[in-house]
Amino acid sequence: MELAQILDIPPYSLNKTDKARLLNPFFNYLTRHHYANCNPYKIMMDCVGYDCNKEYNYNQLPFLPVRLFKMFDLYSVLKEDVIKTMTSSGTSGQTVSRIFLDRNTSAAQTKALTKIVSSFIGTKRVPMIILDSETVVRDRNLFSARGAGILGFSMFGSKRIYALNENMELNVEQLQTFVEQNKGERIFMFGFTFIVYQYFYKELLRLGIKLDLSDGVLIHGGGWKKLYSEAVTSEAFRNKLYDVCGIKNVHDYYGMIEQTGTIYMECEHGHLHAPVFSDIIIRRPHDFSVAGVGEKGIIQVLSILPESYPGHSLLTEDEGILLGEDDCSCGRLGKYFRIEGRLKNAEIRGCSDTYETNF
């Protein structure tokens, strides 16, 4: 099946058997494609004993450590076909990932993201509050993870406002007017977890202002590390937001710049879900064998989107636990899991977490 056809499949509609049948040929194709078109990738694959004539089950295909994208420029298309280079928002002293996109991969990312998110909030576009500052997207040539996230999600807004000004201060009046004007409509909010907490929640709390966003839906992502240090859990985060704006519908997501598009959305039961277009495998740290349900390990992510760069099978630096497959009480099929945190000694990262040191 072609990529475009796969992207038309409802994102949580395939069980384990059907998903493997669909994705095995595709991941084998992608591995062969990168093997033939990206020489550094070929060298690495030869080192780990990859055989391009063999058909693998996708949990046996080799994976690259995600940090290789910080060390090398890896791409599988002609350099002149690269239309966009995305970078992780690294802090000073850290190197950034560089991800090379051609037209097809870039379009596929947008399409996958749209399918995943609209399965949660609908295909009808609604008024949108971006819980960030517009300055993040102002420089079109410097595309950070934060800017890319905002732009990707902007698609769902019929009209959009940025809640923060260029000094990261909350535009309270503008926000109140917007909420008032759109009364009775579902308002969609998007932001990075730490920024939502620090500059939206805390500011509303400080001012003692309550907004009525009880019909709203918030999607947030980008990392919890900074909030762990403030002892804010996912549940506490939801409760706190409910207190200042009455919002009940809050979804975290897990994703990374190296596999933009295929994000893992949190369902109503607090579980992160793998869509049809991608998968996760939890691996045991000592031998990289596949861990079972309930067992903590390193997260490997596989996505069908990366065609212009060899990023379809990556070992992250995050730890997680597989909670189950095809049987979440929300009804979505596929694997569901939770994040346990960063691997010890792994480089500190996370796009919303880097704000303070970055500016």
Binding site: I83, K84, R103, S106, A107, T110, K111, T114, S118, T123, K124, R125, V137, R140, L151, G152, S154, M155, F156, S158
Partner: protein, 78 residues
Amino acid sequence: MNNIKKYKKIFIETFNAKENEVCQLTYQSTPEWDSVGHMNLITALEENFDLMFETDDIVDFNSYEKGIEILRKNGIEI
């Protein structure tokens, strides 16, 4: 102004394009038509034609020609 002229004018203004090139424009074929430019184009079309695209329309809108097809689908005579 008829709709096709209006449509063309929006393209020219949004992407700072030349009139004789505008019909050949596709997404990412010019630096101006990047993801930021794309959302600017969508906003301008929605305001001028008084309509609201669905997300799928925005994703599929990848060329000048395709855009005409999508406008027709949304009930605009063009």
